[in-house]
């Protein structure tokens, strides 16, 4: 690939997660992606070449590029989510590189929570494994609708088309039921570089895109732009210009979904007051409208008593305002759920006292079945009934990721102990 100067004003940002284990060649794949797209620097290459030699390897091990922490280098494992960056002339990419082992479901949840697309990595010799099912399930649960199936280690099956087709088919048989918008399969050898950035010469039978072509062309998830307008208020500023009789109240925050224009009819929740948007301001000047992802300052045409945690929303499609709702919870803490502990729930900019009122079932993610449960331990995904002390303004996660998600904090330790997704009651 040519070196380039990204046309900064027009490049899009795509965030993706890579799911798989070291055994599938995940570190090698990421190393290859970074190396062939020229995101690896000479000094980094020199450092890993030296390490490879010290370990008695004949070639430079690209997988070493993704080792972050001392303990990881010592143990040859990945402990935590790492974020990596590269760009092509078309796009800027952020990779959430997550460990694949079972005990690290919580890291996958973390990485998937902000991703537009997931790469599911498979060893072509092994076909669909338990971990493949688990990874695919988790990314779907976390609201990712497009996946790239990277069928790796094609060099070890003589780049055979039949074997690729079989594994692809086996995957579709199980994944079609999960309701993805798009599943794109690419055969590759991350070790040798075929079909990652360069096509190579070993698979003339494959006419589809290389991995990098897919990453450059796959749609950035824009569903959130078309969802109803939601604006959780982060901060309230009061300003009074000289000569003005009344102070103006500025509501600072980020448009989490949909879009808003000056003059739009909105409802302020939980008060339920109807009003209209008087202005949308930024440091760079006033806007006529703003869209999901933009941090702005809103003023309203009526004086309403609003504080942090309140929400300004589309009047015609308001969120549900609830004190009790169903959710899927991924438990992240080493310590099991203890119902006697005081828990806080953070949703958007709102923090309220919360209780897990009932455990409905545990999701057995490896076999896609529900099993009864009376406890919630690390990495468990459990359907629960949540009760909160103050009503919160929620949407279902499936239709609105930012407004359907929450975290649970242990009030005593301040630890983030769970991630939650609002579902149909």
């Amino acid at each position: 690939m040519d070196q380039h100067l990204p046309t900064q004003q027009h490049t899009e940002l795509l965030r993706f997660i890579t799911c798989g284990s070291v055994d599938d060649g995940k570190s090698t794949l990421i190393g290859r992606l970074l190396f062939d797209s020229k995101a690896i620097f000479e000094d980094q290459l020199a450092a890993i070449s030296a390490t490879s030699q010290r370990r008695g390897m004949s070639e430079t091990d690209l997988a070493l590029l993704t080792d972050g922490l001392q303990a990881e280098r010592e143990q040859g494992i990945t402990i935590d989510v790492a974020y990596r960056y590269f760009s092509t002339p078309k796009r800027r990419f952020i990779i959430a590189d997550t460990p694949g082992h079972e005990q690290y479901t919580r890291n996958m949840v973390t990485g998937a929570s902000t991703a537009d697309v997931a790469i599911i990595l498979m060893d072509v010799r092994k076909g669909v494994l338990t971990q493949t099912r688990r990874h695919t399930h988790i990314v779907r649960l976390l609201g990712i609708r497009q996946i790239i199936l990277a069928i790796n280690k094609m060099d070890l099956v003589d780049f055979d088309e039949q074997t690729f087709n079989q594994v692809h088919q086996e995957f579709l048989t199980f994944a079609n039921a999960l309701g993805f918008d798009d599943i794109i399969a690419v055969p590759m050898s991350a070790l040798q570089g075929d079909m990652v950035v360069d096509r190579g010469t070993s698979m003339p039978w494959y006419q589809g895109h290389t991995l990098i072509d897919v990453l450059e062309s796959v749609k950035v998830d824009e569903n959130i732009q078309h969802a109803p307008f939601r604006f959780p208020v982060q901060l309230v500023h009061r300003v009074r210009n000289s000569g003005e009789l009344n102070e103006r109240r500025l509501y600072l925050g980020r448009v989490e979904s949909g879009h808003v224009s000056v003059g739009d009819e909105v409802v302020v929740l939980p008060a339920g007051v109807n009003t209209t948007v008087a202005s949308i301001d930024t440091y760079d000047g006033a806007l006529k409208s703003a869209t999901a992802g933009q941090s702005v300052t809103i003023t309203l045409s009526e004086q309403v008593d609003i504080s942090r945690g309140d929400m300004i929303a589309q009047k015609s499609h308001p969120p549900r305002t609830e004190k009790s709702f169903s959710a899927l919870i991924c438990w992240l803490s080493n310590a099991e759920l203890d119902v006697s502990k005081r828990l806080l729930l953070r949703h958007g900019t709102q923090t309220v006292a919360a209780k897990i009122a009932a455990l409905e079932y545990k999701l057995d993610i490896n076999h896609s079945i529900h099993v009864p449960t009376e406890k919630m331990a690390m990495n468990d995904i459990v359907k629960v009934l949540v009760r909160v002390q103050q009503p919160i303004n929620i949407d279902n996660y499936e239709s609105n990721r930012p407004n359907g998600s929450f975290i649970i904090i242990d009030e005593l330790t301040n630890d983030t102990v769970a991630a939650g997704m609002v579902v149909e009651n």
Binding site: D43, Q44, Q70, D80, Y85, S113, G253, Y283
Partner: protein
């Protein structure tokens, strides 16, 4: 409706993070050194909070080994913004006997951590906003945007709080603090592109200038009072610029004729050496240098 371009998305994310600090933390501060990353932080703070004053003071942990232009720039920028600057000096920490140096010319980058932790304790800051980026270094690649530090200021990489969606948890007990990195997801190229887009002033030493240097490994070491040439070394007068600005004893320039921000962007897009690899002697000592410093309280 067109989607936001990538710089807009990064900017908006950073503004959101700064506002969360203002809302969640009782007594935050913003670390400002006069370097390019913290210059970007100040513009982001203006975008997050103007027309009001910043809800935090600016803090500089001064190693005493400075480039004079950078300190002059720092003071000019602070007075333009009419914000409050707190300066605490590594020199004073050494005088108090709380940090030891082998010689006057040793790098004080690592000692900064002690002065920083002391300053956090002195003012009881519960959050410090810093300009670190994940693309800088492999330990940083694994750090959270809201990074928890215990009462000793230490980072525990194996026991980080999960950070999911953009729901940040800044809660701490008294004595503990958060380090918050709003430009975690920016690269060096993004920073320069943003400086260009926002027409931000940066200290002159970021632009190409002639300077006496010696060659040491892959690095060019500036010849200064604190970093004299070794007997066998040949001093050359070269066109150079600095990619990072830190302690003068361990910050190296790169050969460059880039005299304006567009030229720097063009060079950054095709550079073959990482920012810290080319410019920081203290990151070259072992593969885990940064990780160890962070465990000791470095930002």
């Amino acid at each position: 409706m067109s989607a936001l371009n990538h710089l807009d998305r990064l900017e908006s994310e950073a503004i959101h993070i700064m506002r969360e600090v203002a809302a969640q933390s009782k007594n935050p501060a913003l670390l400002f050194s006069g370097g390019k990353d913290s210059i970007v932080l100040l513009r982001l703070a203006e975008k997050a909070f103007r027309p009001l004053a910043f809800p935090f003071p600016l803090v500089h942990i001064d190693t005493g080994h400075n480039f004079a232009e950078v300190i002059a720039f720092r003071d000019r920028r602070v007075s333009e913004l009419k914000e409050k600057l707190i300066v605490r000096r590594v020199e004073d920490t050494i005088k108090q006997g709380r940090a030891r140096v082998k010689s006057e010319n040793d790098s004080r980058n690592a000692l900064q951590a002690i002065t920083l932790v002391d300053t956090i304790n002195e003012f009881q800051f519960d959050a410090c906003i810093g300009g670190a980026r994940r693309d800088e270094e492999k330990a940083r690649a694994k750090e959270r945007i809201f990074s928890f530090r215990d009462e000793f200021g230490a980072w525990d990489p194996k026991n980080q709080r999960p950070e999911i969606w953009s729901l940040y948890n800044a809660r701490v007990h008294p004595g503990e603090n958060m380090r918050v990195f709003p430009i975690s997801n920016w690269t060096e190229l993004d920073v320069w592109s943003y400086i260009a887009r926002e027409r931000l002033a940066v200290p002159e030493i970021y632009y190409a200038h002639k300077r006496p240097v010696v060659r040491r490994g892959i690095q060019l070491v500036p010849v200064t009072e604190l970093t004299p040439p070794r007997p066998e070394e040949v001093v050359e007068e070269l066109w150079v610029r600095f990619r990072t600005v830190g302690d003068i004893t361990c910050t190296c320039p790169v050969a460059s004729e880039a005299k304006d921000v567009e030229a720097i962007i063009a060079e950054t897009a095709v550079t073959s050496v990482t920012e810290r690899g080319a410019t920081r002697m203290d990151d070259q000592t072992s593969e885990a240098s940064m990780e160890l410093r962070k465990k000791q309280g470095y930002f």
